[in-house]
Symmetry: C2
Subunit: 109 residues, 2 copies
Amino acid sequence: MQDNITKLFKAIADPTRRDIFHALVIATSALSITQISNQFLMTRQGVTKHIKILNDAGLVQMKEDGRNRFCFADPKPLKEVNKWMQFYAQFWDDSLDNLDNYLKTKKDA
Amino acid sequence: MQDNITKLFKAIADPTRRDIFHALVIATSALSITQISNQFLMTRQGVTKHIKILNDAGLVQMKEDGRNRFCFADPKPLKEVNKWMQFYAQFWDDSLDNLDNYLKTKKDA
DNA sequence: TCTTTACGCAACTTTTTAGTTGCATATTAA
DNA sequence: TTAATATGCAACTAAAAAGTTGCGTAAAGA
């Protein structure tokens, strides 16, 4: 229903999910759902939903171990986001060109 | 209400807005609202709303000229997105470390 | 075995987002 | 001056997202 890049952007567009992802990236070990939830004010179920979205985007992976589900970050999918951005990077420092073009348009009209 | 980075991520999380942004980046001149709208199936007002969100995020700027509002892309704010990503880039190629840590966790438990 | 812990699932509410229609207004062209 | 064009604004609908409560269940510990 949604393409990967959209899933990725939507996943990281939410501040809570960026926080969860960050916590997992800097964690020295995988963290259980409960351990993650304890770092946030919202309920465990709320956090679980966010983790599911991160998981669907490929940014978080999980390993079941008994009654625990340990989560760990996988930043690799961000490569695709980076690739998307690199195309626009070439316009970062000359984005006033478009303003020039605008002025040209005006002159031509 | 929303921080800049969240505004940016939300702006580019929508496929239509990425399309609008892209069209403006590759355009050889600034485009009016109507010119942009004509490239999409949705109504002009729908497109206008997307442009407003892009404008709030700083990705699109506008110049009024008579009854026209010419829009042009400004990719510079994407630098901040890039900065956000660069932190995680260091983990791209060793993201299995977290899996190792997970296994270590398991062993310790 | 009994209790606690860690979770999933489903139903629900609230808020946000995406998109529409309708109408008013200013600018441009005939 | 009259008609067409480019736009904004407001109200509305529909759908998606964010978050909650409640409950059931399997695993671990006492």
